[in-house]
């Protein structure tokens, strides 16, 4: 339960509530301990120590070997940009890069940028269950491949991609190709253990695991050379200039600590609630179709398509009941195209536009889930009456 008692918040893949313990941990670094961690006097020591202690925690969070492999950034988008641009610009002779069709825009649009500059770009496909076809890498990676970027878990479907295996494939063909993993949606939901993989770079974002918005981190394996994309002072080993955002970094470290302790809870209790929600809806709403069918999924996410009913309309009616979720329908985002992820999965048009993502957190309660399961059939029944596809709906709903 969150503090806002009238709200059932099931959009935790968009952003999360900041944990109170996180807020408490941050406050001293706005007030008494406001020093610049680079300064020499006593006041700055505490800020510096807090920064380095946070780096230690985030190192653990990534499952990295060394604190020197951790760079603080301002968000997941910055981590992706720093990694992708950093690797490509450090390898000016290589003109080929690979990613997937289902990445977050922060990766896709960065790749588009290089595609426009004349780079050769390949995009891995997913199958209809949302599984990533990493075997395609075997024929795509070559001598000219500078970088492969793959997300650890998909924000829309929750599908976990076998990125460790993908990294193995890449390195077996070209050991010099760098591998970047966008782990924004994996962090805090599944264990990260980057030191035991062939991954070179990885990005996370604080606000997806109960830290504030506007703080993130990047893992960069020892020995990996990138061209800093934010040039400035010597901070973060000159890989990311700019005075470190100490209070937010402290907050992110606190959130990471809480998340590591809650991993088991996430994968048991949160998963049970997610399954309860998913099964409840699929059972009670006949035109509901599970979009994220893969077994390999983060424990908090489900994506369900409601045939012949438009997604935004469903969200607006859920909102009336205080239920917050999100949709891949074009109309919700104001873009003209429905979700590129569901499109890549070849989700049929009948349910594509009516797809709703529910994403839980460790604050979600059973009462909240039961309320949604109870109300979903009522909402869909009401909206089905408005649809022009009465014949089709009658066939499915059996009325």
């Amino acid at each position: 339960m969150n503090d806002n008692k009238n709200i059932i918040y099931l959009d935790n893949n968009a952003t999360t509530m900041v944990d109170k313990k996180v807020v408490e941990a941050m406050i001293p670094y706005f007030t008494n301990e406001f020093g610049n961690p680079s300064s020499i006097y006593e006041l700055a020591h505490e800020a510096h120590n807090a920064l380095e202690n946070s780096r230690e925690v985030i190192k653990e969070f990534f499952g990295a070997n060394d604190t020197r492999e951790i760079i603080f950034t301002s968000c997941g988008t910055e981590s992706a940009n720093a990694a992708i641009r950093g690797v490509i610009e450090a390898n000016p002779n290589k003109r080929h890069i690979i990613t997937t069709k289902v990445e977050h825009p922060c990766v896709l649009n960065t790749f588009k940028d290089y595609e426009e500059k004349g780079y050769r770009v390949d995009y891995l496909n997913v199958d209809e269950n949302g599984e990533l076809l990493i075997d395609e890498l075997k024929t795509l990676v070559d001598d000219d491949t500078a970088l492969v970027a793959i997300m650890a878990a998909n924000n829309e479907t929750g599908a976990i991609y076998p990125y460790e295996e993908a990294a193995e494939i890449v390195k077996s063909i070209n050991p010099n190709t760098k591998v970047f993993i966008d782990a924004v949606q994996a962090a805090g939901k599944i264990k990260l253990d980057v030191k035991n993989t062939k991954v070179d770079l990885m990005g996370i974002s604080g606000h997806k695991f109960h830290a504030p918005k506007g703080v993130g981190a990047m893992y960069i394996k020892k020995g990996t050379i990138i061209k800093p994309y934010m040039t400035g002072g010597h901070q973060e080993r000159a890989l990311r200039g700019g005075t470190e955002n100490v209070p937010y970094i402290v907050g992110m470290a606190k959130a990471a600590e809480l998340a590591m302790n809650a991993l088991e809870f996430e994968n048991k209790t949160v998963k049970e609630l997610r399954d309860r929600l998913e099964e409840g809806i699929l059972e009670n709403v006949k035109n509901a179709k599970l979009n994220s069918r893969t077994k390999m999924r983060v424990p908090n996410t489900t994506n369900i398509g409601f045939e012949y009913i438009e997604g935004e309309l469903i969200l607006l009616h859920l909102d009336k009941l205080g239920i917050c979720a999100s949709s891949g329908s074009a109309c919700t985002s104001g873009s003209l195209e429905p979700s590129h992820v569901l499109r890549a999965m070849k989700t049929p048009f009948t349910s594509l536009h009516g797809s709703i993502r529910f994403s839980l957190s460790r604050y979600t309660t059973k009462e909240e889930i039961d309320f949604v399961v109870q109300n979903m059939p009522i909402v869909i029944k009401k909206l089905a009456k408005i649809s022009p596809f009465q014949k089709e709906l009658a066939g499915i709903l059996g009325e």
Partner: protein
């Protein structure tokens, strides 16, 4: 979230006139499931007056609200008046719509027109030669022509300006035809490049496609400068003293760059 007016909220929460009319005198349809928007409008007409109207919409909040509002606006009205209702009128009655959502409301007007066409058995819009090119967003030929006259040169630019082509994409081919009919068939002008992209592309082709060929004869080249579409190069190695240099430049290098980048490229040696 969208900043919907109270009226819009009321109309998508409790839409009025939802449903169908068994013995409708006219039925109009607009949109398609694939586009994410579809609307059916049923009319009962007596003595030139709309006596009842019902709708069914597959679409977002604004699509439902505007269809419902349309039915309210036409019930009890003579056809002559109804014909004059524009999309703008509907939006005004709704207390406005967020700009990104306006395209969701055009379907109402389109279905109404379809219903009236079916009723009369001819197209009311026939007097004008304007026809709908993009069904998803109800964009007509004249609107697209206007956009081309305002400077749009590619389908993408048309989409940016008018939305046409932005959903299912079925109309893209026809949009291209309209562009071609005004600007003449597309040159080999592959894509619009910024000067920097242009320079990078030229350089990459010189390095990757042309230099290796020249190297086979122990020759080489250097990119000296780019000025608009004029590309200045310097031949090196055996090419430098080669009597065929001029033809190499024109027949091989320039031809290749024209083919891959832009028809108007001019390669100058020296």
């Amino acid at each position: 979230m969208w900043d919907y007016s109270e009226t819009v909220k009321e109309y998508y929460t409790n839409p009025k006139n939802v449903g169908s009319i068994e013995d409708a005198d006219a039925i109009g349809e607009a949109g398609a499931l694939a586009c994410g928007d579809a609307l059916k409008l049923y009319l009962k007409i007596k003595d030139g007056v709309i006596t009842d109207a019902k709708f069914q919409t597959f679409g977002c909040g604004s699509a439902v609200a505007s269809s419902s509002m349309l039915t309210e606006m036409i019930i009890g009205k003579p056809l002559k008046e109804v014909e004059k209702i524009t999309n703008k009128d509907i939006i005004e009655r709704l207390g406005g719509l967020p700009p990104e959502k306006i395209h969701c409301s055009v379907m109402g007007r389109e279905a109404l027109e379809d219903a009236l066409n079916n009723y009369y058995g001819y197209k009311i819009g026939e007097k004008s030669t304007d026809k709908i090119i993009c069904n998803c967003f109800s964009v007509t030929e004249n609107v697209i022509k206007e956009a081309v006259e305002q400077g749009a040169k590619t389908v993408k630019e048309i989409t940016d300006l008018t939305y046409a082509g932005g959903a299912c994409g079925r109309c893209k081919e026809n949009i291209q035809k309209i562009i071609d009919s005004i600007l003449g068939p597309k040159k080999i002008n592959k894509e619009e490049l910024t000067p920097v992209q242009f320079a990078l592309k030229v350089n990459s082709i010189l390095e990757k496609e042309i230099a290796p060929q020249l190297a086979l004869d122990n020759g080489g080249l250097e990119l000296v400068d780019i000025e608009g579409k004029n590309i200045y190069i310097k031949l090196k190695g055996t090419c430098e003293s080669c009597p065929n240099a001029k033809s190499t430049v024109k027949n091989f290098i320039e031809k290749k760059l024209k083919e891959l980048i832009d028809d108007e490229i001019n390669v100058i040696e020296g």
